[in-house]
Each structure stands twice: as C-alpha cells, then as structure tokens.
C-alpha cells in the first residue's frame, strides 16, 4: 500500500480525517449563523434574500460549498466506518455489568458520537431539503430589489417557522448539534495531537462555549419568528 493511503487508513489517519473535516464544519457553522442572523433584520427579508443570492452565485463561495458537501459526506461516512470498526474491535460478547468510569467530563457524549452524528445527519437532510433544495431548484417566489430579480428564500423560512412542529424540530435538533460539538470541538484538537498544558484548558473552555452559543443562536431564530408571527 502506498504510504499516504496507509496513513489515511490507519487508526490515527482515520481520526485525523474526522478531526479536520469536523473543524471545517465547526467554522462553517459560525459563518452560517452570521448569515442567518440577517433573517432578524426587520426589512421583509431583503438583506437575507440578497445574501442568499450572493452565497449561491459568487464563484469562490460556490467552490467552497462543493468542499462543504464533500466534507459533510466524508465526515459522516468515515464516522459510520469508525463506528463499525470499533464495534468489531469490541467483540461479540459485552460486559454483564457496565460501570466503567471516565476522567473526562464529556464521556457520555463521547461514547455516543456516532448516534448523535446520525441524528445530526438526518436533521441536515431534512433541513437542506426544506431550504437549500428549493433554492437550487428555483421553485421559489421572486422578489425584485432595485430592478433585480432575487429568489425569495425568506418566504419558505417564514412559513416554516410559523409552524410549531418545525420550530420544535429545529430547537431540538440544535440540542443534538450542541452535544455533538461539546465533545467534537475539544476532541478534534486531541486527535491532532494539540494537547498542551497552557492551551488545552482554553480550548476546552472555548469548545464548551461554542457548543452552547452557536446552537443557541440558531435556535433563537425560529423561536423569534414564531413569537413575532403569533
């Protein structure tokens, strides 16, 4: 086997892929949240719709978005592969009594990253089908700003978020994303070997803050929409 393939299929190499794609997705979440906060500007969706047009037409962003889709799939597929390999390594016979301890604070989440990730993936499929797919397929109403036709992505957002079912779906999904981030953020640094007496406490703090604030920011948008439209 070629040395590079061997590296990427080794136990550490596989985790490295999880770590790097995970970190990319972590950064993406921040960009996505900043963009989405424009939904809260009281201008009937003009700022958000213009932003959505920019995000779907700018060539640099288009190129990055293909990377994003690839990384989401790579992160998910590699995650499932790891789950299967780890299960195989554990062997068929489990313990009759399960009581192992852990020194880390996120052990409960760490053990369930595969399940949490799968929930997040299902959320992503529904979420992208609801907005991204409509935007790409162009079956959206059109708004005209300064004589330019722009897809009105704001309309389906407003419609979805006046439905209590969707609001709950988004808020609960954010809880799962938060848990996934709570472990994933700090774990990705440990996997890269970036463990340091001086910096690790800060990375852990930042990871916990990120895992609370980013999903909270996302969850607030449907809640605010719902309350405003009541």
């Amino acid at each position: 086997m070629n040395w590079f393939t061997k590296f990427l299929t080794s136990s550490i190499g596989r985790k490295l892929i999880m770590s790097l794609t995970g970190l990319f997705l972590i950064v993406f979440l921040l960009v996505h949240l900043i963009g989405n906060l424009q939904l809260l500007i009281p201008d009937g969706g003009e700022a958000f719709n213009l932003y959505a047009k920019f995000m779907t037409t700018n060539p640099v962003i288009k190129f990055t978005s293909y990377g994003l889709y690839a990384f989401i799939l790579l992160h998910a597929v590699q995650g499932w592969l790891l789950w299967a390999k780890n299960r195989k390594a554990r062997g068929g016979q489990g313990y009759a009594v399960q009581a192992t301890r852990a020194t880390g604070t996120n052990a409960g989440i760490a053990k369930r990253m595969g399940a949490l990730g799968t929930i997040v993936f299902i959320f992503l499929v529904i979420h992208m089908g609801q907005f991204w797919f409509k935007m790409k397929m162009g079956d959206l109403p059109v708004q005209i700003y300064d004589g330019v036709e722009v897809n009105d992505l704001y309309a389906p957002v407003k419609a979805a978020f006046s439905n209590i079912g969707f609001v709950l779906f988004y808020v609960i999904s954010m809880l799962f994303i938060g848990m996934h981030l709570m472990h994933g953020f700090q774990s990705s640094f440990q996997t890269l070997g970036l463990n340091h007496q001086k910096y690790t406490p800060f990375i852990k703090f930042l990871g916990n803050a990120y895992a609370v604030l980013i999903p909270l920011g996302f969850a607030l948008i449907p809640i605010i929409f719902f309350v405003k439209n009541m």
């Binding site: 040395w3 061997k6 590296f7 080794s10 136990s11 550490i12 190499g13 596989r14 985790k15 490295l16 790891l82 390999k85 780890n86 195989k88 390594a89 554990r90 062997g91 016979q93 489990g94 313990y95 009759a96 009594v97 399960q98 009581a99 192992t100 301890r101 852990a102 020194t103 880390g104 052990a107 760490a110 053990k111 990253m113 472990h183 700090q186 774990s187 440990q190 996997t191 890269l192 070997g193 970036l194 463990n195």
Partner: protein, 263 residues
C-alpha cells in the same frame, strides 16, 4: 500448610456471592456460575478467589482459571473485570492490590474476563494478551550494542522530561485500557510505550520508525480507534495520562509526513 492457612483465612467476616464467568476454552460458549464465598476483609481480591478455588477443589470441581504472578501490582497479570470495572472499584489499583475491605458483607460481585476481539478468552477469566507483546516487539525497544554500562549522568536529561517518560514507563501492560474502552482501543497502552522511549535521548534515535511500526502493529491486531472518552485513563491501575495519546498522534503524523520512514 497453605491449605490450613487458607482454611483459617476463609473463616472470614464477609459472606459474598460471586458471579464468575466460566468458559472451558475459546471454542466453547461461556456462562456465569454463582458461588458463595466467605472472606476476610483483610484478604486481597485474589486471595478471596484462592479461597473459592480451594473450596471448588475440595468439592472435586474445576477451579476458576485466573492469571496472577507478582501479586504486588507490577506485573500486570491479574486482569479481570470486577462489577463492570477492570481491576475493580478502587482507582489506581490492580486486582491483586485490591482488598476485600472495598466490599461489604452480603455483596454480589460479578467477575468477567477482559472483553475485546484482540483479547480472546483462553479459559474462564484468562485472556490472550499476546497482541500487546507483538506491539512491543514491533518497536518498543532501543537498539544499542551491549557492553559496559555508561555513566547515568553522561547524557543530561531535563528533570521534567525524565519525569514524563517515567510516568509513561509505569505502564504494566495489563490491558485494562482496552477492557475499559467502549471501542477496545489500545491507544493508551501503545502511546505510553511510545512516549516512554521517544521522550528520552536514547529513544529519540529510532523515534519516527518506532511510532510508525507500533501504531501499524496496533492496527493489525484489530484494536479499535480512540474517541477520547477517557475511560482508559480512569481505569488504568497506573493512572497513565491520555496526554500520551495526543503525543503519539503528534509523533505519528510528523513521522509519516516529515520523515522518510514508513511502517
């Protein structure tokens, strides 16, 4: 004499119910067997098992097979899972150093072998841990010609560094990390062995090749991957730190990308 001694000891103050895993061999199916045992709180866990075996032998039954050697916490033989915890409830302690005062009269204690695909059961509580030996053989050594011992102070080593290397070197290779890990990963063991040598000047010479070969062998043996759960650190009788895993990851990545060595 031993029999008399054990008989005396068995007049203990604790009545225990043991649920012990019995399995004739790797080919046979195993199951739990329930036994009553009287023990003294001053006994070690292994001494309590000795009492059980004496009883079984006197009843002309097959004694429970379990591994033990030094009985002073440094050989790493006494591997078993007690009430769901490798080496039992007391932190930083091997089974042989675990005393019955950690339990109460009337307790039910479940005793199982270490579970991992790479640690197949040989008999009862004994598992085959030769996968660890093969990991050591792949790089857990330094190549020096034998001869007169050099003066210990001829190579200056920073105290902090030698301390870290020594902490890693306290790993007794018992396999509790693998038994505790939901993924049956051997990263804590392998990283302790890599760290112990790679941190020191004598080990630096072969550092890149060592980490590549040892990780490669670890993967070949079919151990799982690290999810940074830290169960290994909590259950390790020598309290080896997961910082070693980060160090191994770092050294593996740099040895792969930054040296001309391959596994």
């Amino acid at each position: 004499m031993l029999k008399e001694k054990l008989k005396k000891m068995s007049h203990g103050n604790m009545n225990l119910t043991l649920k012990v895993w019995r399995q004739k061999s790797g080919q046979h199916k195993g199951n739990f067997e329930t036994h009553k045992v009287q023990a003294s709180e001053h006994m070690s866990f292994l001494e309590m098992l000795d009492v059980l075996n004496e009883k079984l032998i006197s009843e002309r039954k097959t004694p429970v097979a379990f591994e033990h050697d030094c009985r002073e916490g440094i050989c790493g033989s006494c591997s078993m899972v007690i009430n769901g915890q490798p080496h039992g409830p007391q932190r930083g302690t091997t089974t042989c150093q675990l005393h019955m005062r950690q339990f109460n009269d009337g307790d039910v204690i479940a005793i199982e072998p270490f579970r991992a695909a790479a640690f197949p059961v040989i008999k009862d509580l004994v598992v085959d841990r030769s996968a660890f030996d093969r990991i050591i053989q792949s790089g857990g050594y330094i190549s020096v010609n034998t001869g007169q011992a050099v003066d210990g102070n001829s190579i200056p080593i920073e105290k902090d560094l030698s301390g870290q290397a020594f902490d890693a070197a306290t790993c007794i290779g018992c396999g509790a990390c693998v038994a505790a890990c939901p993924n049956a990963s051997a990263m804590l063991f392998t990283s302790a062995k890599v760290s112990h040598l790679n941190l020191l000047p004598q080990g630096k010479v072969e550092a890149a090749q060592r980490v590549l070969s040892m990780v490669n062998q670890m993967d070949e043996e079919g151990f799982g991957m690290c999810s940074n759960i830290t169960a290994c650190e909590a259950e390790c009788p020598k309290e080896i730190s997961v910082d070693n895993i980060a160090r191994m990851n770092r050294e593996y990545i740099s040895a792969t990308l930054g040296s001309n060595k391959t596994a």
